[in-house]
């Protein structure tokens, strides 16, 4: 089978539509992950074992199970309790929550990398705990968390492909539908792969460059 260029041009708009949705889902899910991740990181460091241990257990469980099963779980189980949510919202929430558990680890490592002296200095200056977190610890730790967070963002972008399983017309889903209806999968699937690569590879190069210039 050889490459058909006219067919390629024909399907390109459909695929670009899928790519746009993919980027939207990634952006929304990234926002969810960035915020929730910090919450988990702080809860996981809580003074009270009753908060700390369940948080860590949930983190381990979500990180130890496949994303696609979690997607199915949320998509099919929630409606049984009368909570009907769209495929788009399911995708954003599951992807966001899943990666928030990884983001928590990135935040945690960043927080633990802040030197002890910073805590002690804040204490010596009589800063309240909230003040200490907001203007001493977090600004320093988030900087350190950016490289791993960036690689999770790229991973999340690639993993949005799984949302085809619940019928969300993301890039891979568009490619599959277009290809199946015309019995030609070569062009759509190859093109979709290139579109994923075309964004994820330069992003990882940029991230590496950022790390080199801002690294410790």
């Amino acid at each position: 089978m050889s490459w058909d260029w006219s067919y390629t041009w024909e399907i390109l708009p459909e695929l670009l539509k899928g790519l746009l949705l993919t980027i939207e889902v990634t952006a929304l899910a990234a926002a969810v992950a960035a915020i929730l991740g910090l919450v988990w990181a702080l809860l996981g460091r809580s003074r009270w074992a009753a908060v700390r241990l369940p948080t860590r257990a949930v983190l381990e469980f979500v990180r130890g199970t496949p994303l696609v099963v979690q997607i199915f779980f949320v998509f099919y189980v929630l409606p049984e309790y009368g909570i009907a949510i769209s495929a788009l919202l399911t995708g954003v929430l599951v992807l966001g929550i899943h990666y928030s558990m990884y983001a928590a680890e990135a935040y945690r490592a960043g927080i633990e990398a802040v030197p002890r002296g910073q805590w002690e200095a804040a204490r010596a200056l009589h800063l309240s705990p909230a003040w200490t977190w907001r203007s001493v610890i977090l600004p320093q730790s988030v900087r350190r968390s950016i490289p791993p967070l960036g690689s999770y963002l790229i991973a999340m972008y690639k993993e949005t492909a799984l949302l085809f399983a619940i019928g969300l017309p993301v890039l891979l889903a568009e490619a599959k539908v277009v290809g199946t209806s015309s019995f030609r999968l070569l062009e759509p699937l190859t093109l979709a792969g290139f579109m994923y690569l075309l964004i994820s590879y330069p992003s990882s190069l940029l991230l590496r460059r950022w790390e080199k210039t801002h690294g410790q």
Binding site: T65, P66, K158, A161
Partner: protein, 243 residues
């Protein structure tokens, strides 16, 4: 809850396939990681660049995209159909092996230069040098990221059902479609994966402890022993993500 007991044997059949795919994928991935990781430290630029290109290619897209391509597109180019199981194991091995190759490269580069200088002074061939001096010392450093990569592979294997490999997730969706059961089936499925992940984590940690070399040194460097608490699935970030 009663009918879930009825379908449990089916899920366990699927679990066997999941475990088989994971174990074979880990074997394939281990080979891929060692070959690509070593090639990325090679002197010859062609070797290094080829290996890097392969790694970047497999890291740039997700397992499901590669799997669809291998299953639906590759046969139209080569003319013969690939068995779903073969495609699944090959893709998982290449994908996760590419991530883990970064750990191999890092560990090889972490072996002190004097070691390879000494081996050269002893007139060892490059192959012998790699096999009996460099890799044995690099291995303990590779084990934690390999453990993470193995768990990533297990989780990634949940998509093989989409190309008709009858694994746990495949059967879970089938049971759900047939019976309308959701919460029971998917809860059991999630727990199954989690238990396998815990076993994998334990196995890799045991493997790390069983390695003969550099234990003294590791004891002297507490940061190399530092482990996150609790179940210790997370050894840090994903193996081989940019560092």
């Amino acid at each position: 809850m009663d009918s879930i007991r009825e379908y449990l044997p089916t899920l366990f059949d699927g679990l066997q396939v999941t475990i088989m795919v994971t174990v074979l994928g880990i074997c394939a991935g281990g080979i891929v990681a060692t070959v690509l990781g070593t090639a990325r430290t090679a002197h010859a630029r062609v070797v290094r660049w080829t290996a890097t290109a392969i790694v970047e290619f497999f890291r740039g897209t997700s397992v499901i995209v590669q799997l669809f391509w291998a299953y639906y597109v590759l046969p139209t180019l080569t003319g013969n159909q690939i068995a779903p199981l073969t495609a699944a194991i090959a893709v998982l091995g290449l994908n996760c092996g590419s991530y883990a190759s970064e750990a191999v490269r890092g560990a090889i580069q972490g072996v002190p230069r004097g070691q390879s200088d000494a081996a050269i002074a002893l007139h060892m061939s490059p192959w012998l040098r790699l096999r009996s001096v460099i890799l044995p010392q690099a291995l303990p450093e590779m084990m934690p990221p390999f453990g993470t990569a193995a768990i990533d592979l297990l989780k990634a294997s949940a998509v093989v059902g989409f190309v008709n490999v009858h694994d746990t997730t495949f059967w879970a969706t089938q049971i759900q479609a047939l019976t309308g059961q959701t919460i029971g089936v998917y809860s059991v499925t999630l727990v199954m994966y989690f238990v396998v992940a815990l076993v994998l984590a334990a196995l890799f940690r045991a493997g790390e402890r069983a390695l003969p070399l550099r234990r003294v040194e590791r004891r002297a460097q507490p940061h190399l022993r530092a482990r996150p608490r609790l179940l210790t699935l997370a050894w840090g970030r994903r193996a081989g993500e940019s560092r």
